[in-house]
């Protein structure tokens, strides 16, 4: 029984991917538009539309029937004179936002789109605070230890006198 289920699964999966598995590959010659500019726009749009019956494939990459229908539809709209924006609107009206591989920015995807930038900001600020806290703590400790606080210019001179420690190391045979 389990074996049967697995076979069914495997064949099901093969039928569903269609795309990478079969030798029938994505865009077919008969779909290609004569106008190269229009065709190139069609390809760009296709790369941003999801093949709805595939796993994570654009309709540009997939050879599933539905992907083909969608590719033909995109080309029809372009030939009819739609702008790229209008084509996307036409497709999402029918299939919803799920069809877009670049999710639209809205309440639902705020975390998705904002996440990386917010995370980077938080991380950068934490690093800055950490470094400031450390240098302040160090300054306090240095004072407590009675070390002479050097001015920036003095520190720079000292650094110049000491030189780059790597250079010193390299001069060693």
């Amino acid at each position: 029984m389990r074996m049967l289920a697995l076979c069914a699964l495997l064949f099901g999966a093969l039928a569903v991917w269609g795309g990478p598995a079969g030798p029938a590959l994505a865009v077919q010659p008969d779909e290609v538009l004569d106008d190269p500019a229009l065709e190139s726009r069609a390809r760009d749009i296709s790369k941003e539309l999801r093949c709805l019956v595939c796993q994570n494939q654009s309709i540009d990459d997939s050879n599933a029937e539905l992907a083909r229908d969608l590719r033909v539809l995109v080309r029809e709209r372009l030939v009819a004179g739609d702008s790229n924006k209008e084509v996307f609107a036409f497709v999402t009206d029918r299939y919803g936002d799920y069809v877009l591989l670049r999710p639209p920015v809205n309440a639902e995807t705020l975390v998705l789109w904002g996440g990386p930038f917010v995370l980077f900001g938080i991380a950068a600020v934490s690093v800055a605070l950490w470094m400031r806290g450390r240098s302040r703590r160090n300054a306090l400790m240095a004072e407590a230890a009675g070390a002479t606080g050097l001015s920036d210019a003095e520190e720079a001179r000292l650094a110049a006198l000491m030189g780059d420690d790597r250079d010193m190391k390299e001069k060693r045979p």
């Binding site: 010659p29 790369k47 941003e48 994570n56 420690d165």
Partner: protein
């Protein structure tokens, strides 16, 4: 051999391994807490024993596949007697149960390696590390024995098997899982070291020294494994894509990013005794991401090319494992990490500063990939709404994070520790800046000035490669000594310096490859009959003939193509195939690729059009071979760095008498 079955032996060995791992995860811990040397000494013994029995178990499953023992369910489902020997063997890990067995075997292998080569480790640290390692083993062995037993039998045995998914019958993919797993699972050692250090409450430069070679080893294999998978997708899927931001790809890419960050932060711990608690956290995160990846792939949460299992019980089991491992280690971290005091101070513009910047970008990038991978699942679970996160998302988030990283990569190695002079470092890169100008000018001319992103990619690539080379050559005395002396000094430079140069140059070359593959490809899709020709830029591609061929377990239709240049001279011949596998009737396409140093010519066969014509796809893909050359260089860099005297696994033993301190002080930084 009546009454004896290798399959049952394998099953028995698997259970024995669980026993070994259970002992290994408890006794050494108690021993380390009590300072009982005898109890601690059980760790290496049980680690070796665990690996040996798992090796027996793995050998038993391999034997079942090689001999086509169809009394084993797993063999029935994933093998076929006609399958070539290579794929009989690779079939062992080409399925859920077998790949888990490989997972735990590699896990135990790493434990055994620590047991064997870690003689100079402090006994407490060693005992605790091996115990933590064994805890992970226990979890996965339980998972296998309870839900995914590779040795399940069938009676009566069928006469023939169902064959391995033909997409997986490929030399690249035969090697891809073992390499990937060595990398994936290898990160467990860094994790175990980190958790052990947290238990001990002590992290010092020596700790970083112990951990770095293991991380380096795991990272190098992970790099190779990911590159192999990408290469496979490139030639097997038939349209020449190399990276799809598929969740399963991301599952291996996230640990790689974290491991890359860890490699760099461990340098700071080792050299400057700071960033300790961050490095511990990264080690935990790295392996946690491996576990999350395993969960994503193994639980069937995502169904895609790689996902074989769709049993919810299994998913739940791994999820629980995940929560215990990640939650437990993070809790321990929250409790113990505040006790770890940071050492050396540094200015923002310094080697440390550059490495912190590297970590900042790499971890944000890791988080971005994690967010993009999990967001659809998360949203679906929240309110059932569906969202697709595809390549365009990553192009807008991940790629912008990589650009500053690549710019910094050129300068970072020239900065000195503690505080550095950025302008002085930049001044030393005049030569690299010149190269960048040349690359920019060339690409603006060659690309007809209309491809801003491609130009940017090539400029970054040129910058990384030339800056890394300039840094290396200057260290060998460029402009200060003659060529002879330079070569001598170059040979004398530490292996770690070689490793860094190779890996960084590899990154730069890889960037050019990715740019060429994704932005500069020329494509022609057309229907052709034998005898017809097509024009591919300046090339003339003729479809000479087609023929039926027979392989060991498939039939194929092969097309013979020849490409000629404008003068009519033959440049390359192509023989792409469409294969139909006998056992399952599945079809695959075998693209025919001719590589030169600067480009790939790629021809794939499509469907017949019913009137004697065939769909043909032909591509010119500039720089694509550089993807593989770059990856290979990165991996090589990892291994060269690993061979450095100071990192060599046995090395600290020799200097152990002097507590390692003197030897370390005298040696140059591994990062240099």
């Amino acid at each position: 051999m009546e009454g004896f079955s290798f399959a049952e032996l394998g099953h028995f060995a698997l259970i024995l391994a669980l026993v070994c791992a259970s002992i290994q995860s408890v006794v050494p811990l108690i021993g380390a807490a009590r300072g009982d040397a005898a109890m601690m000494a059980t760790a290496p013994m049980t680690a070796l024993a665990q690996f040996l029995v798992l090796a027996v178990s793995f050998a038993a499953l391999t034997n079942a596949f090689v001999t086509s023992d169809f009394s084993v369910l797993n063999v029935v489902q994933n093998s076929h007697s006609l399958k070539p020997m290579l794929y009989k063997v690779s079939g062992v890990w080409g399925n859920h149960e077998g790949s888990l067995l490989l997972w735990v075997t590699v896990l135990a292998l790493f434990g055994a390696l620590v047991a064997l080569f870690g003689r100079n480790l402090p006994p407490g640290l060693k005992a605790r590390t091996l115990a933590v390692q064994a805890m992970v083993s226990v979890g996965f062995l339980l998972f296998m024995i309870l839900t995914s037993n590779p040795f399940e039998r069938v009676f009566p045995p069928p006469f023939e098997g169902n064959d391995l998914n033909p997409l997986l019958q490929d030399p690249g993919l035969a090697l891809h899982p073992p390499m990937l797993y060595i990398g994936y699972v290898g990160l467990s050692i860094s994790f175990s070291f980190a958790v052990a250090a947290l238990i001990e409450g002590k992290v010092d430069a020596a700790w970083a020294r112990y951990v770095r070679p293991w991380t380096l080893l795991a990272w190098a294999f992970l790099t190779g494994g990911i590159a192999l998978g990408s290469w496979w997708a490139y030639y097997e899927l038939g349209w020449g894509g190399f990276w799809f931001w598929d969740p399963v790809e991301n599952a291996s890419f996230m640990p790689w990013l974290a491991a890359t960050a860890l490699l760099h932060s461990a340098i700071v711990v080792e050299k400057r005794d700071t960033l300790k608690s961050w490095t511990i956290l990264l080690a935990i995160i790295g392996f946690s991401l491996s576990l999350i990846g395993t969960f994503l792939v193994r639980s069937g949460v995502l169904t895609s090319v790689h996902a074989f299992a769709t049993d919810p019980d299994r998913g739940l089991f791994i999820l629980i494992l995940l929560v215990i491992a990640i939650g437990g280690s993070l809790a321990l971290y929250a409790w113990r990490a505040p006790q770890l005091q940071g050492g050396g101070l540094f200015r923002p513009i310094s080697r440390e500063g550059a490495l912190v910047f590297n970590n900042l970008l790499l971890t944000t990038a890791t988080a971005t990939v994690l967010l993009g991978t999990l967001y659809p699942l998360f949203l679906d679970a929240m309110d059932g709404s569906k969202v697709s996160v595809g390549p365009p998302y990553y192009n807008l988030t991940f790629v912008p994070l990589m650009a500053p990283l690549l710019i910094a990569l050129g300068v970072g190695p020239l900065l000195s520790w503690k505080r550095a002079d950025l302008w002085a470092a930049m001044a030393r890169l005049k030569l690299a800046a010149l190269v960048v100008l040349v690359v920019a000018a060339l690409s603006l001319i060659m690309l007809e000035g209309d491809r801003a992103y491609a130009t940017l990619g090539l400029i970054l690539s040129g910058w990384v490669v030339s800056a890394s080379l300039v840094e290396f050559l200057q260290r060998a005395g460029l402009g200060r000594t003659g060529p002879g002396a330079m070569v001598r000094r170059m040979i004398g430079l530490p292996r770690a310096a070689w490793g860094m140069m190779l890996a960084h140059v590899g990154v730069g070359i890889l960037v050019a490859g990715a740019t060429g593959a994704s932005l500069l490809t020329t494509e022609v899709i057309t229907t052709m009959r034998p005898g017809e020709t097509m024009q591919l830029k300046s090339l003339n591609l003729e479809f000479e003939s087609q023929q039926e061929v027979r392989g060991p377990n498939y039939f194929a239709l092969r097309g013979n193509f020849v490409a000629r240049d404008a003068d009519g001279d033959v440049i390359a011949r192509f023989a792409p195939e469409n294969r139909r596998y006998i056992a399952g009737g599945q079809e695959t396409t075998e693209a025919s690729i001719r590589s030169s140093l600067t480009r790939d010519l790629y021809v794939a066969l499509g469907d017949p059009d019913g009137t004697g014509g065939m769909t043909v796809r032909a591509y010119i893909k500039p720089f694509v071979p550089w993807l593989w050359i770059g990856s290979a260089l990165m991996m090589l860099g990892g291994f060269v760095s690993l061979s450095d005297r100071r990192l060599r696994i046995g090395a600290p033993k020799r200097s152990g008498a002097r507590a390692g301190g003197d030897a370390r002080a005298a040696a140059p930084a591994p990062a240099e």
